[in-house]
């Protein structure tokens, strides 16, 4: 059932970190880089080492994937990352531990947990929201919870002070957009392609037009993702969107640093962070 829109006063005060970050980007006159990594990939310690280095490498917002056995909107790279993390023993408890450790090292960077509903449902919605908030999480992106299922997690989340960031896609037409925007907060994530993560190249012109169209309907910052892997693409996206999201390409870079047994080779974290730094250059062009 479609949930009724909830009044703004029902939104509990959030951490303010996402808004502060986009305000700062605007003041600096540049777009932001949103990076995605799967929590616990390839193992807890390596994952934490990379995560702690991200803000220094130029990540403006950190998306942390909660591994799931059946990620139906993700391509091969992120599927493999999730299975690596699960094999290394990653659990929801450990993902929240990772978040807490990251938050201790950086008080300002927005942290978004991204994934699928079942691990949260299994953990217990109320317990999850309380623990995520306490661990320093600022927002959630849950791929398989469209507005039709807002009662499940979206409304409890905004009442608990967590931003619920929605995906808009090329199939989200004008008729549907109000439903997608309702109850969403923090920023809006525009999925640039029809398809799953990491499988198609982004096409500039239609994405630019779509972002313009979205801006006529919302004042929220817009981050564009799916199919972005070079500093040039980041720069192009940031010409009219507030941020560019890079996921599969970073995950693939990480994968390149694994040996035949899937164990991290020396220098893996440094290499991933160097790549992130090169992408961040794209936000400072133009």
């Amino acid at each position: 059932m479609t949930a009724e829109p909830i009044a703004a006063e029902d939104f509990a005060p959030d951490s303010g970190r996402i808004k502060a970050r986009f305000d700062r980007l605007r003041a600096e006159g540049r777009g932001g880089l949103v990076t995605f990594l799967t929590a616990g990939d390839p193992d807890f310690d390596t994952s934490l080492e990379i995560l702690k280095g991200l803000p220094g490498a130029g990540a403006d917002v950190i998306e942390l994937g909660m591994p799931f056995t059946d990620p139906m909107a993700d391509g091969p790279a992120i599927q493999a990352a999730g299975l690596r993390a699960l094999k290394a023993g990653q659990t929801m408890v450990k993902t929240l531990e990772l978040t807490r450790a990251l938050r201790e090292s950086d008080a300002e960077v927005p942290i978004i947990l991204m994934g699928y509903y079942n691990p949260i449902y299994s953990y217990g919605v109320e317990r999850f929201l309380a623990d995520a908030r306490a661990a320093g999480v600022d927002g959630l992106i849950i791929v398989d919870l469209p507005p039709e299922e807002d009662d499940e997690l979206c409304l409890p989340a905004v009442r608990a002070g967590l931003n619920f960031i929605r995906l808009a896609t090329p199939t989200t037409d004008a008729k549907r957009l109000p439903a997608v925007l309702r109850n969403t907060s923090g920023f809006l994530y525009y999925v640039s392609i029809l398809g799953i993560t990491g499988t198609k190249e982004i096409d500039d012109a239609p994405v630019r037009a779509a972002v313009e169209r979205l801006k006529q309907h919302t004042d929220l910052p817009i981050a564009v993702g799916f199919g972005i892997k070079t500093p040039e693409q980041v720069a192009a996206i940031c010409e009219n969107a507030e941020a560019a999201v890079v996921g599969s390409a970073i995950v693939r870079r990480l994968e390149q640093g694994l040996d035949a047994e899937g164990k991290p080779t020396p220098g893996l974290a440094r290499d991933v962070l160097d790549y992130v730094a090169s992408l961040a250059e794209g936000t400072r062009r133009g």
């Binding site: 091969p76 599927q79 398989d144 039709e148 989200t172 997608v180």
Partner: protein, 404 residues
């Protein structure tokens, strides 16, 4: 839920919920498409010419109505209840899957879709879909776990012969669950011209309802045929359950008939206690996967576990949401049968009735073998013999230590 008091047949509600089960848990890219399918299906249901079209193909192409057959020698052998088989294994393509596929493909045609995708486990749904696509000249792509491709070679060949592309899925653990993930991924990338023909009463709303409606012809016919043969309704219905479409098709028209006992039989694999099974209702708990909330095999952290069964068609860690609801309402009893029980039933049915059943309904038969001897001779059992066993002869021969 907006239901008529005392009726269990009015679900789901507008959002696709059967109690807490069902729903529409899909990515935003798919939502407009799911809503389009729902609208198209609602419009088709209101149009008598749609049902006429289904009836035409059901009669002249699939071969309906399927007989209701008194299995006299098996009844005599077991020495108890009077056993009837609803013979959906006689349908064109060899299983009940054709009933649902014909409905969905006719709907896809009405919607102007030119490409059909489907997932398949044992290959029965894949073959049925490939068949209907050949009949109507539609492009067909079937996703099948690489492991299943290996153990169901005859069906893979059949699909290719019918002109379908068979895509072996190597993601995850390469079985039905992963084939469904991959079909959903393909759909997200090709929403414009593609119709996803789901093979069971699961997935996002409106699929569980739509597939149930198309399969309900089984129960509607069985009811009429039993009244004709015995002058009354059956005492017990029995059907096997993987996703649960043949069972829902038989059960649904009887849900409000209080005197009819209804039993669904899940696949217990090597035994529910061993952890190697496919019995989601017996050994799982509610969760969200493939667009709906239902009972799932999952670990303590909400990660989906692999199902195990000798029958590839029951090898799925979930179950249709309406079954989850019927379990919690207590209307349907859900039990299980092991690989071993199913194999024994497979052999017995072949010897006593000259019918080689598929391994899936062999699970239902295993339960009939268990309960029939303890029931009186005037107790009527109606079991859905939903598929034939030709596809399983290699698997069974291997288990009996024979070479073909």
């Amino acid at each position: 839920m907006n239901e008529i008091p005392n009726s269990l047949r009015t679900g789901p509600d507008e959002g696709g919920h059967f109690g807490i089960f069902g729903g529409r848990f899909v990515a935003e890219t798919l939502m407009p498409l799911i809503l389009e399918v729902e609208q198209a299906y609602d419009a088709a249901r209101a149009d008598p010419s749609f049902q006429d079209e289904i009836d035409y193909y059901a009669k002249h192409y699939i071969g309906r109505p399927s007989p209701l057959y008194h299995a006299a020698r098996l009844t005599e052998h077991l020495g108890g209840a009077k056993i009837y088989f609803k013979r959906d294994e006689l349908n064109h393509t060899g299983s009940h899957k054709a009933n649902n596929v014909m409905g969905q493909i006719l709907l896809a045609r009405r919607m102007g879709k030119t490409k059909i995708i489907a997932e398949t486990g044992a290959g029965q749904h894949g073959v049925a879909t490939a068949t209907a696509c050949a009949l109507f000249g539609l492009e067909c792509k079937v996703f099948m776990g690489a492991l299943d491709v290996e153990r169901q070679q005859p069906n893979v060949f059949r699909m290719k012969l019918l002109g379908a592309e068979v895509v072996p899925v190597t993601s995850g653990r390469s079985t039905l669950k992963d084939a469904m993930n991959e079909a959903l991924r393909d759909w997200v990338a090709n929403v414009e011209d593609t119709f996803y023909c789901i093979g069971t009463v699961a997935g996002p709303h409106p699929y569980p309802r739509m597939v149930r409606d198309f399969q309900s012809v089984i129960g509607t016919e069985a009811k009429e045929q039993m009244l004709e043969a015995e002058g009354r309704l059956p005492d017990t219905l029995v059907a096997c359950i993987g996703g649960g479409s043949n069972a829902m098709g038989l059960f649904h028209p009887f849900l409000d008939d209080e005197g009819v006992r209804i039993i669904g039989v899940e696949a217990a694999g090597e035994g529910v206690e061993t952890g190697h099974h496919a019995a989601s209702l017996t050994g799982g708990r509610p969760g969200v996967l493939h667009g709906n909330r239902t009972y799932l095999l999952q670990d303590a952290d909400g990660q989906i576990q692999e199902a195990h069964s000798i029958s590839a068609g029951l090898d799925y860690p979930g179950i249709g949401p309406e079954h989850s609801w019927l379990k919690e309402r207590g209307r349907v009893e859900y039990v299980s049968a092991t690989d071993r029980d199913a194999l024994a039933a497979f052999e017995l049915c072949s010897r006593k009735e000259g019918i080689i059943p598929a391994l899936e309904p062999a699970h239902a038969l295993a339960h009939v073998i268990k309960i029939a001897p303890g029931l009186p001779a005037d107790h009527l059992i109606c079991m859905n013999l939903c598929g034939r066993g030709d596809k399983d002869v290699h698997t069974v021969a291997k288990h009996f230590g024979m070479e073909i």
